[in-house]
């Protein structure tokens, strides 16, 4: 019978030969496959050990972590006491202690909304977006500024630290995207005047450094409005940041608009849709989806550049740390201060860039080689 020579089950896969697996094979294939590569590897490992080990020793092993004055620093490694002792002011700036719970609520709301928006599995994105664009700003405004519903008024002069950095970044992001979209549409308009205004606006802001824009906002904006109008310093900076970044946003969105085939709009016309319907229902949803990575990259750049507000005298995260370094009790901790500031910014920016890469992969529904 043929059945005797037949098997019912698969032969179990055999392990690859020893020479083709394991750490050693991996090392050989990736680091030591040839004389040049071996030399490069050895040099790289040497440089890594030479540069990283002293840093690790300084930052972690010999570092001092807790305490409330510089006596807690042994002086051998980093003294993170400098950070932990003024942690509250790094987070809240000069926000009055009794009202800091309000900032905490805003932080929590923001984290919740971000999670809702960013995690693809959570349903109700439309609601999340509506709350994020309309509900959250109002709630944050009432909570942070106070003066209503029996909340103590906290002037923006007392805002500072991470809280100010996040405020500036959020308002900058939320404000610059819609202006940018309008500018991008304007730049592609068939009306010569609309196009000209958009082009001049975009090229002007893209051609000058943010710092001169902030200077302009802080010294020239008060001249532009009637004398009676009080122009808050924070508001001035925000206006400058929004105008500046909306131009960059417009160019990103324009890239997306150009990638949508003209047939899409023509089809909309054939269906009798008007301009805003064609843009809002057909072109923009496709274009914005295409440029999500570019938009997130602009967000990252905006977030990094919020640190420039220190030059016009606002106390963001970096400025608070820098102010702490000039405190006569804490001279000589510049390295700790700036490394910490760098770490905080890095964590935010790096997670944003990773998220953008993840979204890019998720939205990649086409087939590329």
């Amino acid at each position: 019978m043929a059945g005797e020579s037949m098997r019912d089950e698969m032969i179990e896969a055999r392990r690859p030969p020893n020479a083709h697996r394991g750490v050693l094979k991996w090392l050989q294939r990736n680091l030591f496959n040839g004389p040049i590569n071996s030399v490069v590897s050895v040099i790289t490992i040497g440089v890594l050990i030479w540069a990283l080990w002293p840093f690790v020793q300084w930052a972690l092993i010999q570092a001092d972590w807790l305490g409330d004055s510089r006596q807690a620093c042994s002086g051998e490694g980093a003294c993170w006491v400098f950070i932990s002792a003024r942690f509250e002011s790094i987070i809240y700036g000069f926000y009055p202690e009794a009202a800091r719970w309000r900032v905490d609520i805003v932080f929590a709301l923001m984290a919740g909304l971000l999670a809702w928006l960013a995690i693809p599995k959570v349903p109700g994105k439309r609601w999340a977006a509506i709350i994020a664009v309309i509900g959250f700003p109002i709630a944050a405004y009432i909570l942070l500024l106070g003066g209503h519903f029996g909340l103590m008024h906290v002037s923006t002069r007392n805002w500072g630290g991470l809280m100010l950095t996040l405020t500036v970044a959020t308002i900058g992001i939320v404000g610059s995207l819609p202006i940018g979209i309008v500018l991008a549409l304007g730049r592609r308009s068939k009306m010569p005047l609309v196009r000209a205004v958009s082009v001049v606006f975009i090229e002007f802001w893209r051609g000058v450094p943010l710092i001169t824009v902030l200077f302009m906002a802080s010294v020239m904006l008060p001249l532009f409005v009637p004398t009676e109008v009080e122009f808050d310093k924070l508001l001035r900076a925000l206006v400058g940041i929004m105008l500046f970044w909306s131009a960059y946003m417009a160019e990103v969105v324009r890239g997306g608009l150009q990638a949508i085939p003209g047939g899409q709009e023509e089809a909309g016309k054939a269906l009798g849709l008007n301009y805003w319907q064609r843009m809002g229902l057909i072109v923009l949803p496709q274009a914005l989806k295409l440029v999500i990575p570019g938009i997130v990259n602009t967000f990252i750049a905006l977030f990094k550049d919020t640190s420039l507000v220190l030059i016009i005298g606002l106390f963001d995260l970096l400025a608070i740390i820098r102010a702490g370094l000039t405190d006569s009790d804490w001279l000589g901790f510049a390295t700790e201060g700036y490394v910490f500031a760098a770490l905080v910014f890095w964590v935010f920016c790096f997670s944003m860039s990773r998220y953008s890469q993840y979204i890019e992969k998720r939205l990649q529904t086409g087939h590329t080689n």
Partner: protein, 392 residues
């Protein structure tokens, strides 16, 4: 009067051309109103504060000193002169930054594509670390945490006893041209012109006869050799002033401001992270088939790289590279945070504080950056038009 396809008359407000005119008219009116509002308010505010407008202040005596001046400058010079001093300092740090950022950026970008796992990862880590930290933090770090922590001049760190670095900056040898040195730069110019002419000739010859000249070697020889020969023939008229520690400070050599060093380092390292990504994506954008086709034609590796891969990668790299250079120039304005006397620091900073001519000064500063940006963008458009894929 326009008509619908069926021949009926269409209401005027449904006519797209008419609507476009109305919309633009409204936009124009709104813009004019806004500008009028701003101008009227500004006039009223300036009058209330007693500030006179105009550029007359540029001829007034500045009365402050600047630590680094590439052109002659003293406290008696005018505000107009501070503008040029600041502008030159901006251009100096930008030029230095562009050179070093390009070198580091290309090295890191190529290293990211290395078959060596460790080197590729290390280059990747460099990019991810430095592009995600704000430039301002990096500038402050290099200036306050690294350069301000260096020893005093007496305990300077030195390299071969020629270059010294200490808390007051970097001291490097200073070349002192003697009489007769002027011939050497001219010889360099002649060498460059000759090399270009040779290049044109070699190309024509290759088209005509199919024979190639070793143009890279000959060109390098002309550009380096001509000035060298002239330099030696005129009796090597150049002396180096070597820095020397005398008392508490150095005599001889040139002192480079620590602010310049910090700004230079930070700008180069930060921009290099972006350039590295551009270089990597540029090289990766050349389809593998191009290299395979070159191999099939049995072109040697070097020629494949030089004639097939690099020209195609450059078409992707150059436009983005230029925009990074522009970013670097604009970012050099962060100098004001550590007190390097660039355009923004001396002009939008000190001069504005002293004269109060906010509008004129901010406008002039912006105009400088805007001019640089627009000129470079225009050149870039020309380049793009020339290297655009010819679609037939």
């Amino acid at each position: 009067m326009s008509r619908s396809p069926s021949g009926d008359r269409v209401a005027l407000w449904r006519n797209p051309t008419f609507r476009a005119y109305v919309l633009q008219g409204v936009l124009l009116a709104a813009l004019a109103a806004l500008i009028g509002f701003i101008v009227a308010n500004t006039m009223a505010n300036l009058e209330a504060r007693g500030i006179s407008t105009g550029f007359g202040f540029l001829d007034e005596r500045a009365g402050f000193s600047i630590p680094q001046t590439l052109i002659e400058y003293s406290g008696d010079s005018t505000y107009g002169r501070t503008f040029f001093v600041g502008l030159l300092n901006t251009l100096l740090v930008s030029a230095l930054g562009i050179v070093v950022a390009t070198i580091i950026g290309f090295a890191v970008g190529i290293a990211r594509l290395s078959p060596n796992w460790l080197l590729a990862r290390l280059a990747g880590a460099y990019v991810e670390i430095f592009r995600n930290i704000p430039l301002l933090v990096q500038i402050l770090f290099w200036y306050f945490a690294v350069l301000q922590a260096l020893p005093s001049p007496r305990q300077s760190l030195s390299f071969l006893e020629i270059i010294f670095i200490n808390v007051r900056g970097l001291v490097i040898p200073d070349p002192q041209p003697l009489s007769g040195f002027a011939a050497t730069p001219w010889a360099l110019l002649v060498g460059i012109v000759a090399a270009i002419a040779l290049g044109i000739y070699a190309k024509r010859r290759q088209v005509r006869t199919g024979k190639a000249l070793p143009i890279y070697w000959l060109g390098a020889g002309l550009i380096i050799g001509t000035p060298l020969v002239v330099f030696l023939l005129t009796g090597a008229p150049l002396e180096w002033s070597i820095p020397e520690l005398t008392g508490f400070n150095f005599s001889g050599g040139v002192r480079v401001l620590p602010e310049l060093v910090a700004l230079w380092l930070a700008l180069s390292i930060y921009t290099a992270a972006f350039i590295a990504e551009i270089v990597r994506s540029g090289i990766q954008s050349v389809p593998q088939g191009q290299v395979e086709a070159a191999n099939a034609l049995s072109l040697p590796g070097g020629i494949t790289l030089r004639k097939v891969v690099i020209p195609q990668a450059m078409r992707v790299i150059v436009p983005q590279l230029t925009s990074q250079y522009l970013n670097l120039i604009k970012n050099s304005s962060l100098a004001t945070a550590i007190g390097y006397p660039d355009l923004v620091a001396v002009f939008s900073g000190t001069t504005l504080n002293q004269t109060g001519q906010a509008i004129e000064i901010v406008a002039m500063t912006m105009a400088v950056y805007l001019t640089i940006s627009l000129v470079v963008s225009a050149l870039m458009n020309v380049y793009n038009a020339r290297t655009l894929l010819k679609e037939r």
